[in-house]
C-alpha cells in the first residue's frame, strides 16, 4: 500500500521514468492493486515506443542540402553583408518565400517598391527637370529632405561605379514625404534611390528584388529607413550598385 497520495502527475512522471527509485517502488505497489491503471500506463508507454520507432529513423536521414547552415552567417558583420549578397546571388530566393507567408507584410512590401519604380519611370526620362534640387546644391538638398522626412539622410556617392549624382526631389509616399535621389552615368543611364521612413523602427531585411514596369528594384529596410534602388539595368549590375549604396550607408 502506498502511504502517499498518487496523482495523475505522478503517473505521467512514472511513464517518463523521471521519478526517484523510492517513489517508483511506491507507484508500482499502487499499480499492482489497480490493473486498469497499470494497463493505461502501459498504453502510454507503448505510445512513446511507437513514436520513437516511427520517427527516430529521421535522425539518421541525411538532411537535404537546403538545411545546411551557412557558416558564413557567423562571420563578423562586415562579412555578413557579403554573405547576404552571396546568398542572394546564389538564388537565395528563400527570403521571398518566407515573407510570402505573411500576406499583410507582403502587401506592404510590394506597395512601396512599386511606388519607387513608378517614380523612377516618371522622372528618369525627364530632360529639363529631372530633379528639384541639383547636385551643385547637395548640402542644401540633404538638409531639406532630411527635414521633410524627419530623419537624417545621407547621399551615397557612386562615382567609383561611374554614376554621378544629378540631384533629388521630394515626393508624396503612401504615408508622407519620400525622397528620391537621381544618378546617371556617362551614357545617360539613370538610377534612382527612393528613401522613405518606415512604419516601425529598427527593422532590417535582406535585399529583395522586384521588377516593375521593366524596371528592376532592389529594396531593403535598414532601421528607420527603407531604400529602393531602381534602374533599367541588368539585375547583377543593379545589385552591384545596391551593394555600394548599402556599404556607404553602413560604413
Amino acid at each position: 500500500m502506498s502511504r502517499h497520495v498518487v496523482t495523475e502527475a505522478d503517473l505521467h512522471a512514472y511513464v517518463e521514468g523521471v521519478l526517484p527509485a523510492a517513489r517508483v517502488a511506491e507507484i508500482e505497489a499502487y499499480l499492482a492493486e489497480r490493473p486498469e491503471e497499470a494497463a493505461r500506463l502501459a498504453a502510454y508507454r507503448a505510445q512513446i515506443a511507437a513514436m520513437r520507432r516511427e520517427f527516430d529513423p529521421v535522425l539518421d536521414e541525411p538532411p537535404p542540402r537546403r538545411l545546411e547552415v551557412p557558416s558564413l552567417y557567423w562571420m563578423r558583420p562586415i562579412l555578413r553583408y557579403a554573405a547576404m549578397v552571396a546568398w542572394f546571388a546564389l538564388g537565395g530566393v528563400i527570403g521571398w518565400q518566407l515573407h510570402a507567408y505573411n500576406s499583410d507584410r507582403r502587401a506592404e512590401a510590394n506597395s512601396w517598391p512599386r511606388r519607387a519604380a513608378i517614380a523612377h519611370v516618371v522622372y528618369s526620362p525627364e530632360v529639363r527637370h529631372p530633379v528639384e534640387v541639383g547636385a551643385d546644391q547637395e548640402a542644401h538638398l540633404v538638409r531639406w529632405l532630411s527635414k521633410r522626412l524627419g530623419a537624417s539622410l545621407k547621399v551615397p556617392h557612386l562615382g567609383e561605379l561611374g554614376y554621378t549624382l544629378v540631384g533629388g526631389r521630394l515626393l508624396p509616399g503612401d504615408r508622407g514625404p519620400v525622397a528620391q535621389f537621381m544618378y546617371q552615368d556617362g551614357k545617360g543611364q539613370r538610377l534612382t534611390l527612393y528613401v522613405r521612413v518606415n512604419a516601425d523602427d529598427s527593422r532590417e531585411t535582406a535585399f529583395r528584388f522586384a521588377q516593375e514596369h521593366g524596371v528592376g528594384v532592389f529594396y531593403w529596410l535598414d532601421g528607420k529607413l527603407g531604400y529602393a534602388l531602381s534602374g533599367e539595368l541588368e539585375r547583377n549590375e543593379l545589385l552591384r550598385v545596391a551593394t555600394a549604396v548599402y556599404r556607404q550607408l553602413n560604413p
Binding site: R40, A42, A43, R45, A49, A50, R52, Y73
Partner: protein, 168 residues
C-alpha cells in the same frame, strides 16, 4: 563563429524528427525546419551564449508552426486546443482508416500534439516543454494527460495497438 554554427547544426536531426512528427509530412517538415533555421540565423544575436540552444530552436520552431497553423486555411476547423463547448465539435475519427501512431497524432489538436511529442519523443522535461510552448507547467500537464488518453482511445481498440505493446 564556428561554435554557433556547430551548435545549430547539431540540432538539425532532432528538429527534423520533431517537425516530421508534428506535421506528418516530410516536405512540410523540412520547410518548417528551414524556416526555423532562417529565423534563428537572423536572430542569433538574441540567443544568450551558454543558454540551451535546443530549447531556443524548438521555441522558434513552435512559434512558426503555430502561426502557420493559424493562418493556413487548409484546415480551418482544426482547433488549437480543446474544442470549446459552443465552438467546433470534436470529429469522430474514421476508425477504419486509423492505422498507426502517426494517424493518432494527427487527430490531436496541435497544442496537445506538441506536448506529447516534446515530452515523449524529444524527452523535454515538463518545465522545458512549458518554456518552449510559453504556457504554464500545469497546462503542459493537462494537455499531456488529455493527449495521451485520447491517443489511447484512438489506438486502444485497434489490433495493431496490441502489437505495439509487445515492444517495450
Amino acid at each position: 563563429m564556428g561554435d554557433l554554427d556547430r551548435l545549430i547544426t547539431q540540432q538539425i536531426p532532432r528538429l527534423r524528427r520533431y517537425a516530421r512528427a508534428l506535421t506528418g509530412d516530410r516536405a512540410a517538415a523540412d520547410d518548417l525546419v528551414q524556416d526555423t533555421l532562417e529565423r534563428a540565423l537572423s536572430r542569433f544575436h538574441l540567443w544568450r551564449r551558454g543558454s540551451d540552444m535546443r530549447a531556443w530552436l524548438f521555441t522558434i520552431m513552435h512559434n512558426i508552426f503555430v502561426n502557420q497553423a493559424r493562418s493556413r486555411m487548409r484546415y480551418p476547423h482544426e482547433p488549437l486546443d480543446e474544442p470549446t463547448a459552443n465552438g467546433l465539435q470534436y470529429r469522430e475519427p474514421d476508425w477504419s482508416e486509423l492505422r498507426d501512431i502517426s494517424d493518432a497524432l494527427a487527430q490531436l489538436p496541435v497544442e496537445q500534439r506538441a506536448v506529447v511529442l516534446l515530452v515523449g519523443l524529444e524527452q523535454f522535461t515538463y518545465d522545458e516543454a512549458a518554456r518552449v510552448l510559453n504556457v504554464p507547467i500545469g497546462t503542459v500537464m493537462s494537455r499531456l494527460s488529455r493527449a495521451r488518453e485520447r491517443m489511447r482511445l484512438l489506438l486502444g481498440s485497434d489490433v495493431r495497438a496490441a502489437a505495439l505493446k509487445v515492444v517495450k
